[in-house]
Symmetry: C2
Subunit: 207 residues, 2 copies
């Protein structure tokens, strides 16, 4: 169990001038929050529990992150760079875009850390309206923005919504509710099943 002291506090000077101990405390809080949000759900994870898990005083959680929602958003940043996703999807054979996106999505979700972060986001958005609003803003700014810009074409925002709906639905079915047989299906089977859906949502006919 780690302890944060006044010595750590005294070095507060904004992000640039932080001492190593502060970023360590901050990172420990963020790691505990990420783990607990995924394991228990956003609603049932208290700031107090996060502090206890990180081994710090609860006041430090508020000190560094302000609120549970801000903490969530902080730890819920996309597990891979959205620009990388967009680049990999848009570059290359257009007919393979859906499959490349499906593979990227499954790749992130099959990684324990990526899965934890994404299920925490989906759970939070589902269970708290304020979290849903923050999440929506983050998705639009960080993911839909670059994606629709890259896609160009017609109705790119609606297309991004549709892609998001299938991805979130997959997260729910395979990882959150964990319904069989899709929960245990090999990655390649899931990729094969959803790739044509994503392909059409990205650039196929919608009518």
């Amino acid at each position: 169990v780690r302890n944060s002291t006044d010595a750590e506090f005294s070095a507060q000077g904004g992000r640039s001038g932080r001492r190593p101990g502060e970023s360590g405390t901050r990172a420990a809080i963020a790691a505990s929050a990420s783990r607990l949000f995924a394991a228990r759900g956003y609603d049932r994870t208290s700031l107090r529990a996060i502090a206890a898990d990180a081994g710090v005083d609860p006041a430090l959680v508020t000190h560094y992150f302000g609120s549970k929602q801000r903490l969530l958003i902080e730890v819920a940043s996309p597990p891979i760079d959205p620009k990388l996703v967009v680049a990999q999807v848009v570059e290359g054979d257009p007919d393979g875009a859906g499959e490349r996106l499906a593979r990227l999505v499954l790749g992130v979700l099959e990684d324990p850390e990526g899965r934890e972060r994404i299920t925490a986001m989906v759970r939070a958005a589902a269970s708290e309206p304020e979290a849903a609003v923050l999440m929506r803003d983050m998705i639009v700014a960080e993911l839909y923005g670059p994606m629709t810009a890259a896609l160009g074409g017609d109705r790119s925002e609606f297309r991004a919504n549709l892609v998001g709906s299938q991805v979130v639905g997959l997260v729910m079915a395979r990882y959150v509710v964990a319904i069989e047989p899709i929960a245990s299906a090999p990655v390649e089977e899931v990729v094969a099943a959803i790739a044509p859906t994503l392909q059409r949502y990205l650039m196929g006919p919608l009518i």
Copy 2:
């Protein structure tokens, strides 16, 4: 307001070793919850109101059901008869099955009562593991069972999972997170966009 008495308790058969009165109290709470959820909606029905309606102490609601979300899942029944859904989807031109299902789903979700019930269920499943397990069991027994039986064919359970993933993802995108433009898109545009997805998941190639 109903009262649970020892006389009522004594008439209960009960399961295995439980006191006779327990299942009566439990049933009274479930009946009140079911009635109030339907009459007032899930969000505006408190555990306290359910307890008052059932004539029991609020602590008993928590004792038997743990949380409002779990109570919801226990008393939840699909807003339309699954057999009706299956019949309408399976009967008629096979090529129109996806569109008929999309239309049915949107029909239920555009109705305020159906929407509230389904979003409450999705929220519960997303945020409480126990609720997710109960919902999974209900989906398998009441929806996937009849649907896969009617579909016959290959990999019908995997197909039912895929259909469920797109439907739940749509619920999240359009109604829970309410991201634009899909949240405000006309029903016909959403039907047109997801119908081919459901069609392929129901009976198209998955590889």
